[in-house]
Amino acid sequence: MKIRKEGEIEYRFEHPDDFRNFVRDKRSRKPEPKLRSAKEAVSRFVSDGDYLVYDFSSLTRGPQSLIREVIRQRRKDLWIGAEFTLHESALLTGAGCVTRIDVGFLGYGGYIGQAVCEGKVRVYDWTNGGLALRMLAGARGVPFLPTRDLLGSDNMAVSAAKVIEDPYTGLPLAAVPALNPDVAFLHVHQADIFGDARIFGTNLFALEAAMASHRVIVSAEEIVDPEEFRKDPMRTTIPYFLVDAVVHAPFGAYPGAMPARYEIDLPHIDILNGIQTEEQMQKYLQETVYSVADHEEFLDKRVGAAKMRELRGKATIIEGYR
């Protein structure tokens, strides 16, 4: 049982031995080709009721093409954990995919706020630091980690964080439970067919999420030769044996930006920010998700070569992203 209840509060928690058993029995260490279409990857590794995490946001390096595929496949009752869940939460809620959200930072626009007020979706406030630490605990195989924040705030009361006493000083500390999601989405700059992956720039909790999750789907702007990774091990963000599927997804972060590859599409973001009503939401989903077969058709028919060229041209800050 991976969902715990404490009064009003539900939280995802798995005994570390149960997660370890899954890692031993179900995760392959063999270098096997894992290149899949988004359709295959999502249908195989994302089930109704799953707990889903992803790295970064709808504005920056978010796995937007994978999230659109989840919507296209009309997954139900997902629980998402997101430090920055910006438009993702609104779209997934509008599509009826999500019933619970651990945040983080919940935004934007009127739609998701309204959905929370109407009880369409339940939000649990863990804070960004709390979620990052839960993921680190999940990756380190410990059931909790302690921290000197959350204390004294109402986030303690609405999450399953607990106050514990430090055995060395007697200080009150906040303990947060490990998080071991069913599936993690990571959109990266480069990956090979086995799953080795590179992110350029900062990340929120990419390696933590890959280690702590049952399944990991990597979508990559570019597929590179596996030899590239062994030649430059300092640049590997995720090694292949943590990855279950690799999806080649150029412009996979669209309409958000992929640092040093393409800029954010602001007019499109303004449309997203403007979504207030159910009608506007369903119209947007119809146009951008349901009415196209896949990401390739989306780019071809809804974005277009000219726009992609324009956004690539706007990505003028390259320094350091390699």
Partner: protein, 221 residues
Amino acid sequence: MTRMVEFTDTEFMIAQGARLLEDGKTFFVGWGIPQVVAILGQKLYVPNVIQLFEFGAIGPQSVLPFVRGTMGGPQNTYRSLQWLNMNWAFAYSAAGYMDYGMLGALQIDPYGNINSTFLGGTYRTPKRRFAGSGGGNQVASHCWKTIIVIRHEGRRFVPKVDFLTSPGYLTGPGAREKAGLPAGTGPYRVVTSRGLFGFDDETKRMTLLAVLRGLDPGEVV
């Protein structure tokens, strides 16, 4: 003759906030207006300020144009000293390396407790739901001095916040330490569109420090 320059409330807040930055110090910068304050401050007054962002950018020198609402894009990650991740970013603040934190807020109470989660109703059935903490809770918990930037509207200054998202002095003197938060930390300044507030050393309650020229204190408090 003097030249007249018009400015909006928001511009005034941003300008005020930028003047509070201290050069050669570290600032943990929250989402939104604080980002703009930090950019302005670094360009105008404090070239050697070290900005830190929760998404893992250590010491960036942000470039314009700054895309509204973004955090973690190349613009405010540019020319960092180091690129890491969120757990490391909060390690810097938790270990005491962050001199200042700067946050926006929906509501604030006399002890500088911040609400950025919801307004009205209850947590489960709020009247209006907002972003929530993001990393604000960690910033307000870890940083030595927290600066809060907030619009000067009566409904934002309340005796009790609807939800305590990020800790100020909680219930008063000693309450932060009693809760286990790092000693010697807490709210330092509140910058509004009309004035500047500090906190009384004894009572830990907000006190008016300065008002926008042309207004009298009565219009501010």
